[in-house]
């Protein structure tokens, strides 16, 4: 690890100011990606701005038709939340499948969403539920937030403060874990709303994406059989030592079926 200065602001504006005033400084939420990167000397930020003292970023609030989860809320808290389990059990289930117990205790929803790892779980839940990303300066719809491999709509100095999820009629997540890392080799989140169904896929490509043909099929028949015959194109899907693109494409269909199954059970 290379030397850096370390800041623990207790106000969001202070954090934003540090972030913009020190060039190349980085935010630390749970540190699940950043700390290993620093340990391997792959990144050399001059300053780390730790968000852990910002109490307003933690916790889950019931907004009736929405659930708002503070950016610094760890996965384990979301997984165990009675509120999330009651209103959107698919989201609680997603949180319970991330990493391992240590990762779920430290890793945060804001960190995961801001990092936008192509195989992370939360982006599928956020996009699948059509959530709103609340930042220090504005609100961004999920459909406009995830821009591809580790890229988001966040601008320099902008800090995610919360994610606001609309409560669906039904939702489910199915994940095929990469054998070693336990990231999603393919993860599919499905959510049924009064006005239609959303399907979001993580792990398969360079970033989370929706599958309109599956959404259309499920909107008219919310049943696993509705997607069983829908194959997705292998173009743009990832091939690596664990899975080639055609296998990932196949898994999208299988996981979509299982996600619908989970949503119905």
């Amino acid at each position: 690890m290379k030397p850096f200065s370390y800041h623990q602001p207790d106000q969001i504006p202070d954090a934003a100011r540090l972030l913009t005033s020190i060039e190349d400084s980085k935010l630390v939420a749970g540190g699940m990606t950043l700390i290993p990167t620093l340990k391997q000397r792959l990144a050399n930020p001059p300053a780390l701005v730790d968000l852990s003292k910002l109490g307003s970023l933690k916790g889950i609030t019931d907004g009736g038709a929405t659930i708002t989860i503070g950016a610094m809320t760890p996965h384990a808290v979301v997984a165990a939340s009675k509120l999330v389990q009651a209103k959107t059990p698919g989201l609680a289930a997603l949180a319970s499948m991330i990493g391992d117990p240590a990762v779920r205790s430290r890793g945060t929803i804001g960190g995961s969403v801001a990092n936008n790892d192509p195989a992370a779980d939360y982006p599928a839940g956020v996009l699948g539920l059509g959530a709103t990303i609340v930042t220090s300066v504005r609100e961004i719809a999920a459909d406009k937030f995830f821009l591809g491999l580790f890229e988001t709509a966040l601008v320099p100095g902008e800090i995610i403060t919360a994610i606001r999820f609309p409560v669906p009629l039904k939702a489910g997540y199915a994940k095929f874990k990469a054998p070693a890392s336990r990231y999603a080799l393919v993860g599919v989140f499905v959510a049924k709303f009064a006005d239609g169904v959303r399907v979001a896929v993580t792990g398969a490509g360079s970033g989370v994406f929706r599958v309109p043909p599956m959404e259309a099929a499920l909107s008219s028949n919310f049943d696993p059989s509705a997607v069983a015959a829908i194959k997705i194109d292998t173009d743009g899907l990832t091939s690596d030592i664990h899975a080639e693109a055609d296998y990932r494409a196949h898994l999208v269909t299988v996981m979509a079926k299982r996600a619908v199954d989970a949503a119905l059970s």
């Binding site: 070693a180 696993p224 030592i241 296998y247 196949h250 898994l251 299988v254």
Partner: protein, 795 residues
């Protein structure tokens, strides 16, 4: 006073008191006064000419003390890292043995090859210095695959090693095998890959070296399974340090699995550097560094053929293997795929003719050497797979074909056609026991239940034998060993009757401090708690060859048993004097020396006291003191084995294989501590399951980059991958070891890969699948099913 806890008891492990309370003493826990930090700079290229290294910016960086390179090694006239085995081809031509410099000279040959060593005040400063080195590489194409490496136009690692072939080795009667194949009613053929593995001990490698100018002595603390061997190889052959001026300490070591039983260049560099900078120097590998420098295991490509008569009797077995050595010859490298592989191809069967050819091949990969099982898992996998293939092709039940060919219990000792003579065994008894324990008779019910959920269930057998207890020195010498393979033990009885044992094996998780104490407690009748086992320090332990090849109990335990017998013999002389009786009339039992047929006796403690306070003592004929030493060189290998039965369920939708049941009935000879044996079997099985289902070291052809370079991409088996295992022993006693022990450290790893893959193939056999290469990952299984004869029904 505590109790005797002897052979067959299962006390909690002595060493766990310190391990489980965080009081172990590992190399990275050690701090020496004035200690500097060292960092190795490693090649990022698989194959390149090393044109030059500019040290100036690194040397100018804050805190940097020294930068050492291959040129400095050359200037100091230091030796090459030695290979401990020299094999030869059929004509007796010795293997090609190119130098293995401790820091690269002229060329780098794998990603991770060491190029420089940077010493600085702190690890951070050493890292910064390392980043400032300017290294001029002329990158060459890399060759990593075996089939690719032996092609005519393949990149050549060494100018004087044509086709990258180190040795074209063979074993067995080629002509007899050819004759038998001509008479065969059926020939089964199989091509397979034995996947490359990375050992992953929990503790990464580390070393500290210190030089004392006042005494001209060196001390090396290292994560080693065999400190005396490191002292010999490094002192005598690499650094030219006299043995009496070099102390090697391997303190608590967090797992080895073979990875730590080699003399590594890092050890030599850091010891040499400590004298050059006149400071203790410490290096601790990261996990990522271990992946590109710890010796890898396995990595074979094999073509096998089994000739059978019309009843399914094996007539002959022919095996042609390419075995990967990586970029250089490691300590035992060429021995593993040859001497520890070919002689095991007889298995538990009466196959009368066997021929094996192994081409040992250099590639641009980390050197390959022994990894738990070392050669025997590879042999077992080839044999147990082709037996299943033959059974399936001939329409004979897989258990039945094994029975028809098994060596019957009464045929032991059994001489195989491939050098080894099995002293004892009962493979049929292990098979029968395993069939019951695995509830094979109700497998059909379980298969139907799986089918009703859309899953395919399969059962796989592996009836196997291995050769361990390495090794009879004379035999090993004929096969090319350049050292002895005996073991030594000293039993020091203190004046108060407590005992300290100095033994040359090394405990890095196996429970030796417990098992060996049980042997002493049983034999001398002293309390278990009054016996301490000392190992891992060349200044404290007389000599030893270390721990590998399931040898510690078999060879080290035998030395300990012999030394203990000597203590008893001397005790009898002392007792004879004190009790005024003839020595032949003195009996020793349960910690008491007594005169036969009388109630006159002396306790072990009284005899120890007399030996150290020799006022009433036969000084004219007997030396004072009570300390005895023994060296033991085994007369044969030991041959543990058994039957493993794996049961798997395959999800055809995703290709996922789930191991649902696992049964092992093993013959390990006498069991000293059943809890420890069970743990060894569990751990061994899990490592074999890891190879079968999860683990795979993958290199990129051309660039030589390790693609599975971290735990994010290299899948280790985890608790939730595994069922509760049924493990039992069905032992026959070894006829030539003092206690009848056979060793149990590797059997699990040797028996299990074939059992698991045979189960996977069985689960998919109705689709026309005849073989699955390891690891049987979901991606691989799904792809096989796409190409299989029957379409997979969609839900």
């Amino acid at each position: 006073m505590g109790n005797v806890i002897g052979i067959g008891a299962a006390p909690k492990r002595k060493e766990d008191q310190r391990f489980l309370t965080g009081r172990g003493n590992y190399v990275s826990d050690i701090k020496r006064p004035g200690m500097a930090a060292g960092v190795f700079v490693r090649s990022p290229h698989g194959h390149a000419v090393l044109r030059g290294i500019d040290k100036s910016a690194a040397l100018a960086a804050p805190g940097v003390i020294a930068v050492l390179t291959g040129e400095d090694v050359k200037a100091d006239g230091l030796g090459s890292l030695p290979c401990g085995w020299g094999i030869s081809d059929a004509k007796g031509v010795p293997m090609k043995e190119p130098p293995f410099p401790m820091l690269a000279q002229g060329k780098v040959r794998f990603v991770g090859d060491m190029v420089a060593f940077v010493v600085a005040e702190t690890p951070e400063q050493a890292n910064v210095g390392a980043e400032l080195l300017k290294i001029d590489y002329e990158v060459l194409p890399s060759v990593v695959g075996l089939l690719e490496a032996v092609r005519p136009n393949a990149p050549q690692l060494f100018d004087d090693v044509p086709n990258n072939i180190c040795c074209d080795w063979e074993l067995g009667d080629k002509a007899a095998v050819e004759t038998a194949f001509k008479k065969a009613a059926h020939v089964a053929k199989l091509s397979l890959v034995n996947n490359r593995l990375i050992g992953n001990p929990m503790e990464p490698r580390a070393a500290i070296a210190e030089y004392e100018p006042g005494t001209d002595r060196f001390t090396l603390w290292t994560t080693s399974q065999f400190p005396h061997v490191v002292r010999f190889l490094m002192g005598a052959l690499v650094l030219n340090i006299p043995q009496h001026k070099l102390r090697v300490v391997a303190p608590d070591v967090g797992g080895g699995f073979g990875v730590k039983q080699f003399h590594y260049g890092e050890e030599a560099v850091i010891t040499w550097a400590a004298k050059r900078v006149r400071r203790p120097v410490k290096w601790v590998a990261s996990r990522s560094e271990g992946y590109v420098s710890d010796r890898h295991g396995r990595d074979h490509v094999t073509e096998a053929e089994l000739a059978l008569d019309e009843t399914g009797k094996f007539l002959a077995f022919r095996v042609n293997t390419l075995a990967n050595m990586g970029g250089y010859l490691s300590t035992f490298g060429p021995n593993i795929p040859t001497n520890l592989y070919g002689p095991l191809l007889g298995g538990v069967y009466t196959t009368p003719a066997i021929y094996c050819n192994v081409k040992v091949v250099f590639t641009n990969t980390v050197p390959v050497d022994a990894y738990r099982g070392a050669g025997r898992p590879e042999a077992t996998f080839v044999l147990e797979r082709i037996v299943d293939v033959a059974a399936s092709e001939m329409g004979i039940d897989r258990v039945e074909i094994r029975r028809r060919n098994m060596i019957p219990k009464e045929a032991y000792p059994y001489q195989t056609p491939v050098l080894v003579q099995y002293d004892s065994g009962d493979p049929m008894g292990c098979l029968d026991g395993a069939l019951v324990a695995a509830d094979v008779k109700n497998f059909g019910i379980r298969k139907a239940a799986s089918a009703s959920k859309g899953k395919f269930r399969g059962l796989g057998y592996s009836t196997y034998v291995e050769a361990c207890g390495l090794a009879p020195s004379r035999f090993a010498g004929r096969l090319g060993a350049r050292g002895g393979l005996y073991e030594s033990a000293t039993v020091r009885v203190h004046p108060t009757g407590q005992v300290t044992v100095m033994i040359g094996t090394h405990n890095h998780g196996q429970g030796h401090e417990t098992t060996f104490a049980q042997i002493v407690s049983e034999k001398l009748g002293v309390a278990f708690e009054n016996v301490d086992i000392v190992f891992g320090d060349t200044d404290r332990v007389q000599f030893g060859m270390g721990t590998y090849g399931s040898r510690s109990l078999v060879v080290g335990g035998a030395a300990l048993s012999k030394a203990t017998d000597k203590v008893i013999a001397k005790g009898k002389k002392i007792a004879s004097h004190l009790l005024e009786a003839a020595e032949v009339d003195i009996q020793f039992e349960a910690g008491k020396f007594s005169v036969a047929g009388t109630d006159r006796s002396k306790t072990f403690e009284e005899i120890a006291g007399a030996a150290y306070v020799p006022h009433n003592y036969p000084l004219e004929v007997l030396e004072p003191g009570l300390e005895e030493q023994a060296y033991y060189d085994p007369v044969n290998f030991t041959y543990p084995g058994g039957c493993h039965i794996a049961e798997v369920e395959v999800d055809p939708e995703t290709g996922t294989v789930t191991l649902v049941n696992y049964t092992a009935v093993d013959d390990v000879g006498t069991v000293i501590n059943p809890m420890i044996v069970e743990g060894q079997l569990h751990g061994g099985i899990v490592q074999g399951v890891g190879q079968a289902l999860f683990e795979n070291a993958v290199y990129d052809e051309g660039s030589g980059q390790l693609l599975s370079g971290s735990l994010m991409d290299y899948c280790m088996p985890r608790a939730d991958h595994l069922p509760m295992m049924k493990v039992a022993t069905h032992s026959t006693l070894c006829t030539h070891t003092p206690m009848g022990v056979k060793g149990c450290g590797e059997v699990g790893t040797i028996g299990s890969p074939a059992a698991v893959i045979n189960a996977v193939v069985d689960a998919l056999s109705h689709l026309g699948v005849t073989h699955v290469d390891m690891p049987a990952t979901p991606n691989r299984i799904w792809r096989l099913l796409q190409n299989a004869s029957l379409p997979v029904a969609a839900e």
